[in-house]
Amino acid sequence: MAKAAKKKTIRSIPQQRTPVKELEPKVRVKNFEEVNCGYSLSEAMNEAERCLLCPEPGCIAGCPVNINIPKFIEAIAAKDLRGAYDVITASNLLASVCGRVCPQETQCEGVCVVGETLEPVAIGRLERFVGDNAIREKWSNIPYIESTGFKIGIVGSGPAGMACAADMAKAGCEVTVFEAFHQAGGVLKYGIPDFRLPNSVVDAEIENLRKLGVKFECNTLVGRLFTIEQMRNELGFDAVFIGTGAGYPSMLGIPGDSLNGVLSANELLTRCNLMRAKEFPNYDTPIPLGKRVAVIGAGNTAMDATRVSVRLGAEKVYCTYRRSRAECPARVEEVHHAEQEGVEFHWLTAPVEVLDDGKGNVRAMRCIRMELGEPDDSGRRRPVPVKGSEFEFECDQIVFAIGTNANPIIGQTSHLKLNKRGYIATDDNLATSMAGVYAGGDIVTGAATVIEAMGAGRKAARNMKAYLKIRDSSDDAVGKSAGTFFGIDLREQNFARIRAA
């Protein structure tokens, strides 16, 4: 790769972050097309010029899967898109997905040096550009794979499972991914709406995994159809990875929360995204259509729920959150987009009761104003109800997106050790209490992000390889090794023999 001709400085780079084209709010609220149109080649090259190519880049460490960010950006600037793609896929198979859904502002872009003076380099948009270009060009990086003969079973086809599957397939294992739904993709399919991550992008990434030899078995509820123990003992899997996600939505726990018209964001999103209820009656799954929709919570799932409700034709969509805007956990871009689309935010507002119309449906919601008190365990200031501030407002649908609890199925059907919150207990290497069984993603940590789940999937894969004594030559494994001996990776199983020779 060509070295940059002269050293770039904060003064010499383009000062403005390259804007990205977006669908007009008034157009996009009527459809499910993707809002962010992505960079063109010239826009991407212009933005790539803004990277200072720091000798000690913080962004790589800021990325949960440690993509060599400056290297792929340098390749874009040199118009070497294939090179950029190769750099990203060395660490991350799902560039198109992560470029869209990662919370870059708290990860790579959050530590970008340019961001100290100007707006940080738009790393996420550049990653997406590279990934989308690869899909368009039908590129895939299929290395020569020598079979190790090991059989790996992956439970759940979401981001954690996909990442683990990719690494194990590349290591020469025969990988089967089991999915309970009728389509693979997990939360990328059922949860994240098309206007943020089109299903076609997810399918393209899954196709890449298939090219690596990964098999997908849908309609398979592991735990009930066969257990984790059976996978290890009867079905011949040498190692198993569990990435089933957090599932089980938390309930509001207020009077009236079982009325018709009160539903979880998971239900709304699954009906709309996976089951295509937005195309009802061409698809058979119905969806509740609210005129005045109140969404409770302010995470990314809540933002998705508000924006889906807008597109389904709600006249008014409210978002209530018991803390203030500063504590809102959603990506900045999502809140911004929701506001542009007419979602009305009510910060420091908590629901107290759902009121019915006498026929079992929602009529209104009673709320109470909150104020911020002392910091709580999470370090954020605890919301405290303001006495006498209760008020009612009319709505006919309430969507709650206030987090999830551990899905109980694996716990019910295996002897795996769980932690006190019901999530699967693992050690630092993501190994569970059962030999050869690893777990990662939301089923271990509780609800987190797509990229964190992918990071966990990759970490589990590394340790799975060590467990199976497969030589680990992936880029990051070498890069992260404790030390080298005359350039030989100490973690290689056969280093002693090399040294002797």
């Binding site: 089991f178 309970a180 009728h182 849908c218 009930r224 929360d257 119905p286 899905n407």
Partner: protein, 313 residues
Amino acid sequence: MIETSPAGGFKILAREDFSDVTYSLVVHHPLMARAAQPGQFVIVMSHETGERIPLTIADFNRKKGTVTLVVQAVGKSTKEMQQTCKPGTSLYGLVGPMGVPSPLTGKKKVVCVGGGLGVAPIYPQARGFKENGAYVIGVLGFRNKNLVFWAEKFREVCDELILCTDDGSAGMKGFVSDGIKVAIQGHKDIDEVVAIGPPIMMKACAETTRPFGIKTIVSLNPIMVDGTGMCGGCRVKIGNEVKFACVDGPDFDGHKVDFADLMTRLKRYAEEEKAALDRWSDNCRMMMQAPVLPKDGEEAVAMPDPFEETLGG
């Protein structure tokens, strides 16, 4: 290599029609046949654009590798399946077994109650209790003689069988709750009553046994999407707690179930269901096929209740 999702879907091997609205499908799925336990259910998608519908497992044959589902044609999807699902065709999606299996051991004397379509899923439970050495009293309810099915199958696994019909055209005249009363009069030592049927029937059963303090288990079938605990659409009130029927059930203590809440929630999509059915029926008419049309004023059309046939039964 393990294959749980065959390329062409899940093959239907046999079908039996019990009445003009109820039918059973025998589906090839050896792994599921091996794993299935009484009390569990599956989720079916008949085709790619279909919806996911929960159906209780009515029977399974581990040797033949089959599971049997009994379906009542009440809405668009189930009526469409009635037309399209024939031996040789396939279901697009079939996942399960789901739910916590019913405990069948440690009981000396049990009453297994099935009303209408609930007769099918209570069968493997009755058989399971019998295999575990219990004295099994079967109570089956139908509207009339013509709708009776599986009575012979039940006689093989029950020590006593009480057949009830609304009009008295077969067995005793009365509802299953009347049948339960007969059983209680005859036996003072009943450990447990298990009832499966429409919500209103299960409620009547629970109210019948409450004064006698007999433990009563009911199998709930609320509206579901995924069936894996992810959406919470199937939440039910059990005493002071909220439970998900798909992963915490489907069996619950009938004396604690809030049936009024369940019945209200079952009507959630009544309007959409009706619209879908009307639209589908119109399409069928246009295509010169003979759809199963609702009779005038028949409430069943608007109700996504899979056990409508024996309301009150």
